[in-house]
Amino acid sequence: MVVDELDALRDKFEGCAALAFADLSTKMILVTDSGSNLRREALDALCAEAAFLLGANGTPALAEQPSDKASVTSPSQMRVFLRAEQEPNDVLCCICNSKLDADAFVADAGACLDRISGSE
């Protein structure tokens, strides 16, 4: 179950506040972790940000080519967006607090996304 994968990832990282699995082709959030209480508008904004930063329409947000991993860090929050290796429209959107071990989280989040994407 996708939600179980998301819950397991969230439980592993104390600094992880919300996770959402999205489809960039429809620009829709498909599943969130079970503890997430984000409103519809917030989920739509999160998905739009993922599409923009990862260059969903083939146009890079910045520089020369679309990325498979993007992040936005502010003093209070870090949002991470990851694209699945096998299915480029499958994306994991993550909202974390800024005290997270970024490398460890991104590695686990990438593996989680690939499991979810591969099991669809």
């Binding site: 930063l53 520089a63 991993k69 936005v72 860090t73 800024s98 991104v106």
Partner: protein
């Protein structure tokens, strides 16, 4: 010390946030900001009653005795060090000893990523009349400036990560203030993409944060990554290797949180 200097120093101390690490020690230098030797002298300068100050950097602990805003000497170093100056009171009358103390401190901590201090009860050291040398006096003898004005956060971030960045374009109030590395691709982004990016992104997230760090992995054709750091009226465009993502994030969080 002039009244102006003293006031500037007090203001700097008030501005600086106090960070305590997991061991309960106070963090006084991170990523060379300020230089560890400067951080040591600041602590000495803040010490009026006689105390032992234990400075930790990595696996090394340097314990000194300070009193009356003067450094009396280095009491102990762990792991064990055979430098002769350890255990000696420093004095202007013995310039070789003063230099030896500086050389020892520099060899132990000049490259420290992080330095902390603990203030401990004093222990017997030297003779009563041997007062050591004032922190201010040591800045002159050692040729160390008391860096009392903290660097602006963006400057701090860029200098702390200089070795990590492949190239940097730093813009303040619309004007390029510094560059390093191959900045041609960054100049291209600055000219043709940054404004549109900021407008589009701000619309999505309902306004731009005062401090924001955006990373886009493998955004350049050669596989290197791009980052955009924003802080008030400053922008830094950076090219970096993807494996440095976590290191940059930690540094950003330390400086801007």
């Amino acid at each position: 010390m002039s009244e102006e200097d003293a006031l500037a120093q007090k203001l700097a101390a008030l501005i600086a946030s106090v960070e305590i690490d997991d061991s309960g020690a106070r963090v006084i230098s991170v990523d060379g900001e300020p230089a560890p030797i400067t951080a040591i002298l600041r602590e000495v300068d803040d010490t009026v009653l006689e105390r032992c100050l234990a400075f930790d950097c990595g696996d090394t602990t340097i314990t000194v005795v300070a009193a009356g805003r003067r450094l009396r000497g280095i009491v102990n170093v762990t792991p064990q060090n055979d430098a002769e100056i350890i255990g000696q009171v420093i004095s202007r009358e013995e310039p070789e000893g003063v230099q030896a103390a500086f050389d020892l401190l520099q060899s132990l901590c000049a490259d420290a990523d992080k330095m902390t201090v603990r203030s401990l009860p004093s222990e017997p050291f030297g003779k009563g009349g041997e007062r050591g040398i004032s922190a201010k006096g040591l800045t002159e003898l050692w040729g160390v400036t008391m860096d009392i004005i903290p660097k602006p956060p963006m400057d701090k971030f860029l200098s702390a990560n200089a070795a990590t960045f492949l190239s940097v374009l730093h813009v303040r109030e619309g004007k390029v203030v510094s560059t390093s590395g191959d900045v041609k691709p960054l100049q291209q982004i600055w000219k043709s993409q940054v404004d549109d990016f900021r407008k589009a992104h701000a619309k999505m997230v309902r306004g731009e944060e005062r401090a924001q760090f955006v990373c886009l992995e493998s955004a350049f054709d050669d596989g290197t990554s791009a980052a955009l750091a924003l802080y008030e009226n400053e922008i830094a465009l950076v090219a970096y290797q993807g494996e440095n993502f976590g290191k940059m994030q930690s540094s950003w969080q330390r400086i801007f949180n």
